[in-house]
C-alpha cells in the first residue's frame, strides 16, 4: 500500500518556490492498477517520481507498506528502489548493452544474485515478454513495442512489488499500445504487482486501471474507481478527458440535443445490465417512444458498459424511469 500524507513538491526557480504538487493525500492499494491522468505539466510526472524518490518531496510523508520512505538513508533507498520497477515513455534502455544484458542490468547492480540466477531469470523474463529470439540484439535493432517489452522485463528483473509506468505507451502506435497494456494487465493479475501508471490518455486508464486520479495544475482534482470517474465525471478537466477519449465534439452534441423533442435522459448500463434487452420492454410497458441521440458501448477494464443519450416522447415517463432504475440502470435527466 502506498500512502501519500500531505505530500508536496515545489521547485526553487530564481529564489522563488514554484509548486509542482500541492499538498496531496492519496492511497494506492496493494495489487491494484492505479492511473494518474493529466495534461502535460499537470504534475503527474512529479507525482510518480515521488514514489521512488527520484524526486524528493519538499513536504509530507510517503508511506509504503507502513514504512516512511522519506526517512531512508542512501543505502536503504537503493535497496528500496530495487523493489520498485519503472518503465519510461522513451524506454531508456542502454544502447551499449544487448537485450539480455539490459534485463540483467538491475540484477547485476543489486550484487546479490549469482551468475546462474541472473541467467535463468533473464531467460524466464525474455519468454514472458516474448523476446527470446532477440536476446542478443541491441536496442537499436528493435521496434518501439519490443523496446518497451525489454523495459518491462528489465523493470521486473528484481521481482519488484510496485511497477511505475511513466507514459509507457505514449510513444507507441495504437496496436502496440494495446499489446503493451495487455502485458501490463497480465503482469498485474499474475504477479499481484501494484501498478501506478501515468498517462494523458483516458483510453489507457479505461483499459487497464482499477482506480484513477485526475490531475490539473499540480492538484488531484478527482479520484475514484475508473467506472465512476469515467462514466460520471464531475470536474471539468475530467470531462475534457472523457470527451477527448470518446472523440465527442461537445458543440455538435449540444446541437443534436437542442433539436430533439421531449425529455432527454442519459442511461448508464454497467456489467450484466449491458446485455439485457431493456429498452424495448420499457418502451412497451410505459408507452414511451424514444430515439437514440448518442451512445457508446465498450469495456472498462473487464466490465462491459453502455451509455446512451435518449430523447423520450409520450407515454408515462415516471413508469419508464422506475423500470430502468429497477433494472440497475443509472438514469440522469439532462432536460
Amino acid at each position: 500500500m502506498i500512502v501519500f500524507d500531505q505530500v508536496q513538491k515545489s521547485y526553487q526557480v530564481g529564489g522563488r518556490a514554484i509548486p509542482a504538487l500541492h499538498p496531496t493525500d492519496m492511497t494506492i492499494e496493494t495489487g491494484e492498477v492505479f492511473g494518474i491522468v493529466g495534461h502535460s505539466g499537470a504534475g503527474k510526472s512529479t507525482l510518480v517520481r515521488l514514489i521512488n524518490l527520484l524526486e524528493p518531496p519538499t513536504g509530507g510523508r510517503i508511506l509504503i507498506d507502513d514504512e516512511n520512505i522519506t526517512d531512508y538513508d542512501a543505502a536503504e533507498l537503493r535497496a528500496f528502489r530495487r523493489k520498485v520497477g519503472m518503465i519510461f515513455q522513451h524506454f531508456n534502455l542502454l544502447s551499449s548493452k544487448t537485450v539480455a544484458d539490459n534485463i540483467a542490468f538491475p540484477m547485476k547492480l543489486a550484487g546479490i544474485y549469482s551468475k546462474a540466477e541472473i541467467r535463468d531469470r533473464v531467460e524466464e523474463l525474455l519468454a514472458r515478454v516474448s523476446l527470446t529470439d532477440h536476446a542478443n540484439k541491441y536496442p537499436s535493432q528493435l521496434s518501439g513495442g519490443q523496446k518497451q517489452r525489454v523495459g518491462i522485463a528489465r523493470a521486473l528483473a528484481c521481482r519488484p512489488t510496485i511497477l511505475l509506468c511513466d507514459e509507457a505507451t505514449s510513444a507507441l502506435d495504437p496496436q502496440t499500445t494495446q499489446s503493451v497494456l495487455k502485458l501490463l494487465a497480465d503482469i498485474n493479475r499474475e504477479l499481484g504487482l501494484t501498478i501506478v501508471l501515468i498517462t494523458h490518455e483516458m483510453d489507457v486508464v479505461r483499459r487497464v486501471c482499477d482506480r484513477v486520479a485526475v490531475m490539473d495544475a499540480g492538484e488531484v482534482v478527482e479520484m475514484g474507481p475508473v467506472s465512476e470517474v469515467f462514466l460520471h465525471p464531475k470536474h471539468p478537466t475530467t470531462r475534457d478527458f472523457v470527451f477527448e477519449s470518446e472523440s465527442i465534439d461537445r458543440t455538435e452534441l449540444q446541437e443534436d440535443l437542442s433539436k430533439a423533442d421531449g425529455r432527454i435522459l442519459r442511461l448508464t448500463f454497467k456489467g450484466e445490465s449491458t446485455y439485457k434487452p431493456l429498452l424495448g420492454s420499457v418502451a412497451r410497458e410505459s408507452g414511451v417512444d424514444f430515439s437514440i441521440l448518442s451512445g457508446r458501448i465498450d469495456h472498462i477494464k473487464d466490465t462491459p458498459y453502455g451509455q446512451l443519450t435518449l430523447s423520450l416522447v409520450g407515454g408515462d415517463l415516471e413508469v419508464a424511469m422506475q423500470a430502468l432504475k429497477a433494472a440497475d440502470v443509472h438514469v440522469e435527466v439532462l432536460r
Binding site: 535497496a79 528502489r81 522513451h90 531508456n92 544502447s95 547492480l109 537499436s140
Partner: protein
C-alpha cells in the same frame, strides 16, 4: 631520385619517427589516464548533474581553461622548470612528455565531459531508479554509453598530440618536428621538410582511420 632526396638520412628519419611515436603514445596514455577522471568529475559536478558542486566545478573548469588557453608553444617553455623537477631534463623525448600531457589531458577532459553530457538523461534516471549508486551509474551506464564519444575524443587528442609533439622540436623535444626544424628549416633542406611532413600526414591519417573504425565498432545506436 637520389639527387632529389640527397639530404635525407633514412636512419635519422626512422629514429625520429620512432621518437614521435613514443612521445605521442606516452603522452596520449597519460592524457587519457589523467584527463578521463577529470572529465568525469567535470561532468558530475556540472549544473543539475549527479554530484552538482558549483564551486568544485568552477575551480576545475578554471584550471582546465587556463591550460587550454595558453598557446602550446608557450606552455612548452613555461613547463620547463616543472619538467626538470619531474624527470631531470627538459630535453629529448622524455622532456617533451610532461608539457604534452599538460596540453593533452585538459583537452581530453573537456571532450570526455562533452561526450558524457550527450548520454540521454533518461538512461541515468532509469539506472538511478534501479537503485544504482553513483559509482555504479558511472561505470555501469555512463562510461559504456559514452564509449564511442570517448574513443572519438581519444582520436582527436592523439592527432592534436602529433602536432604538439612536432612543436616540441622548438625546445629540443626530438622526433620528426625536431628534424623538420633543425634540417628542414634551419639548414634549408627542403627534402627533409617534405619527408617529415609527409610522414606526419600519414601518421595522422592512420590515427583517424583506426579511431573511426573503433567508434563504428562500439556504436550500437
Amino acid at each position: 631520385m637520389e639527387d632529389l632526396l640527397s639530404n635525407v638520412d633514412w636512419t635519422e628519419i626512422g629514429w625520429a619517427s620512432w621518437d614521435t611515436l613514443v612521445m605521442v603514445g606516452m603522452s596520449l596514455l597519460f592524457s587519457v589516464v589523467i584527463g578521463l577522471p577529470i572529465g568525469v568529475l567535470l561532468f558530475l559536478f556540472g549544473k543539475r548533474q549527479l554530484l552538482e558542486q558549483p564551486v568544485a566545478y568552477a575551480v576545475l573548469s578554471f584550471v582546465v581553461n587556463v591550460l587550454r588557453s595558453v598557446p602550446f608553444i608557450i606552455l612548452l617553455i613555461v613547463m620547463i622548470p616543472f619538467t626538470v623537477m619531474l624527470i631531470g631534463t627538459s630535453l629529448g623525448v622524455a622532456g617533451a612528455i610532461p608539457p604534452l600531457v599538460a596540453g593533452g589531458a585538459p583537452f581530453f577532459a573537456r571532450l570526455v565531459e562533452t561526450s558524457l553530457r550527450e548520454v540521454d538523461r533518461g538512461i541515468i534516471e532509469a539506472t538511478q531508479a534501479m537503485g544504482a549508486s553513483v559509482k555504479q551509474i558511472i561505470f555501469g551506464a555512463l562510461l559504456p554509453e559514452a564509449l564511442p564519444g570517448i574513443i572519438a575524443g581519444i582520436t582527436v587528442t592523439a592527432i592534436t598530440l602529433v602536432s604538439y609533439a612536432a612543436m616540441s622540436g622548438v625546445i629540443g623535444g626530438g622526433g620528426l618536428g625536431d628534424l623538420a626544424i633543425r634540417f628542414g628549416y634551419q639548414r634549408f633542406q627542403t627534402d627533409v621538410m617534405v619527408i617529415t611532413v609527409a610522414l606526419l600526414v600519414i601518421f595522422v591519417q592512420v590515427l583517424q582511420m583506426v579511431g573511426d573504425r573503433l567508434v563504428l565498432y562500439f556504436s550500437r545506436k
